[in-house]
């Protein structure tokens, strides 16, 4: 066979050798990093549910994942998630759409104020923009406002500090407050609130809108950071839609949503040098997996597949090696104020 444009390509360029005959748990060449993530890079994570896995694995592998709202030390670990702690770099809950992300940044920058975001149920009040972080609600609308302001002040700190922003694109479908354009993470009336078609409308974002929103987000972020540069790493959640309000079948809606978001991530990472794309979506939905990447509900990604996804990530961005010797030395010589003072207090009482 004569020379042609495909003759010298690696096996990863061919479906047969790159997918059909390739080990789906170790796909050669599926991700080639665009830039390094230095050990001291301050990483912020946000996005739809799948982003939680990325956040957790980065922490586990020694990366400096920021958490501006860490759980109180006295809160048992099994309750962290109940109150929205340790999921992302702040307690903003799931940010499914880019429009949500844009509005969060605009709120932080003081350019926009959410409307109609305090929803009531059984005498308790909820922040509709992050309804899951206080599952039992708060006592008054004023308390919701106070908690939101507190949260926003910390997100500002996060946005000012981060070096790398990892965002997982989740959905295109969203529910919007007609009058103000405020976008909610959940449909009114599902977790909380009441659905009123005079107040809310459905929106299924299209490619151009999402690209525009993400670029606007970057502009607002730059403003918050007074021009300080940052990098982005995008992923697309492989988790299918639970339900669609688009009027189409949930399978076609899922495909629309995911392919649109994949295209958005592709265009942004191709055209902007500071944005990388990590193909978690492809690793999970690889036909070679024959759907075994998902649990029985064919939505949740199985833990071992999450591990597989992250192994591909860490092959390009190796786990941060802790300098154990130094760490131990530091720990053994480090004394808290109480340690330093304690012997004196004992001697005073017992040394007479």
């Amino acid at each position: 066979m004569g020379k042609n444009p495909y003759s010298d390509l690696p096996k990863s360029a061919f479906w047969k050798t790159g997918v059909a005959q390739e080990n789906p748990y170790a796909i050669e060449g599926i991700y080639k990093k665009k830039f390094d993530i230095p050990a001291n890079a301050k990483i912020a994570t946000a996005g739809s549910c799948f982003a939680q896995h990325i956040s957790r694995h980065l922490k586990k592998n020694g990366y400096n994942v920021l958490d501006v709202e860490p759980p109180p030390p006295g809160l048992p670990e099994n309750l962290h998630q109940k109150f929205g702690f340790s999921m992302y770099s702040a307690r903003y809950g799931n940010i499914y759409t880019v429009r949500q992300l844009l509005q969060l940044a605009q709120e932080v920058a003081g350019e926009w104020t959410p409307q109609n975001y305090i929803w009531e149920r059984n005498g308790k009040f909820y922040d509709a923009l992050r309804p899951a972080v206080e599952p039992e609600g708060l006592d008054s609308p004023e308390e919701v406002i106070e908690h939101r302001q507190f949260h926003i002040s910390l997100v500002k700190e996060l946005f000012e500090t981060l070096d790398l922003f990892i965002f997982t694109l989740g959905l295109t479908e969203m529910w919007v407050h007609k009058e103000s354009g405020t976008v909610y993470p959940t449909a009114p009336g599902t977790l909380i609130g009441e659905f009123n078609e005079d107040l809310y409308e459905f929106n299924n974002a299209q490619f151009n809108q999402i690209i525009g929103d993400f670029n606007l987000f970057q502009g607002v972020l730059k403003k918050i950071r007074c021009g300080k540069k940052f990098k982005c790493l995008l992923t697309v959640s492989p988790v299918p839609l639970t339900a669609t309000a688009s009027g189409r079948h949930v399978l076609t809606s899922t495909m629309y949503s995911k392919s649109t978001l994949r295209s958005v991530a592709g265009q942004l990472s191709t055209n902007q040098a500071h944005i990388d794309y990590f193909p978690s979506y492809e690793i999970v939905t690889n036909p070679r997996m024959h759907s075994i990447a998902f649990a029985d509900n064919l939505r949740s990604v199985r833990d071992e597949i999450v591990e597989t996804v992250m192994r591909h990530f860490f092959r390009e961005h190796p786990a941060i090696q802790k300098e154990n010797k130094n760490t131990i030395l530091h720990q053994s010589t480090m004394k808290t104020e109480e340690d330093i003072q304690c012997e004196e207090a004992m001697i005073e009482a017992f040394g007479k």
């Binding site: 709202e69 507190f150 104020e337 009482a349």
Partner: protein, 232 residues
């Protein structure tokens, strides 16, 4: 005569000084109770072990200090680790500021400050003792930090007082329904108007972490007489 063992780290100092002072004043409680102090020089009770025959032994010392048959004590008071009201358990990091937390979140923290929560934090010696004699153990903890030592992310005038009051109220409620360990709160007289911080006059002036003899005096008198009823 009640036999009481006080086990603790540096915070035991204030209680020992307080007990000495109660003896000097010839308070009745000193004739009703016999106190024995067993102090570790470090907060983690390194080298201290509870042996199979029920003795507590410091394996680090050539001349071993020990307590024989600790089961024979009427009460075992633990004076180490943060006290039930300590704001450190609510803070973003151990020594950081108090954040704005919902009542529901505070409740989850307060009502989980129990043996099951503490077992990951408490030195193994104390865990063993609590496990062996849960009904005799009374957990005092260290003194609350004075207000000057606290930082708060929320406005001190409104937010702090509200959160402090929620912590105080929920802690009082949680004590009435103990989970294996009896927790005690410092008597109100030792605390300032916020109800979660020790009045400055009861702290050692040199470090603001450890309490002084007056603190130990009032705490022990309140605990032994009013709370444990050892006054007959």
């Amino acid at each position: 005569m009640k036999k009481i063992l006080l086990l603790g780290n540096s915070h035991l100092g204030a209680l020992k000084l307080g007990w000495d002072k109660l003896n000097l004043d010839d308070k009745k409680v000193t004739r009703d109770c016999e106190l024995e102090f067993l102090g570790a020089g470090n907060p983690k009770f390194v080298h201290w072990r509870l042996d199979a025959n029920g003795d507590i032994i410091d394996h680090n010392k050539k001349k071993q200090s020990s307590v024989s048959k600790f089961c024979e004590y009427d009460s075992i008071l633990l004076a180490s680790m943060p006290c039930k009201l300590d704001l450190g358990q609510f803070c973003r990091t151990k020594s950081d500021a108090l954040p704005l937390l919902s009542e529901s979140c505070i409740k989850s923290i307060v009502f989980n400050y129990s043996f099951s929560y503490m077992k990951n934090l408490v030195p193994s010696l104390l865990v063993d003792i609590i496990r062996t004699l849960p009904n005799k153990v009374v957990f005092l903890g260290a003194p609350c930090r004075p207000f000057s030592k606290l930082r708060c992310d929320v406005s001190r005038s409104t937010g702090f007082d509200r959160i402090a009051s929620i912590i105080r109220d929920l802690s009082v409620k949680s004590i009435s329904n103990p989970d294996q360990i009896s927790f005690v709160l410092p008597p109100v007289i030792l605390l300032d108007e916020h109800g979660v911080s020790t009045r400055p006059e009861f702290m050692r002036s040199v470090d603001d972490i450890h309490a002084n003899a007056d603190y130990g005096y009032l705490l022990l008198e309140n605990l032994l007489v009013d709370q444990l009823g050892y006054n007959s």
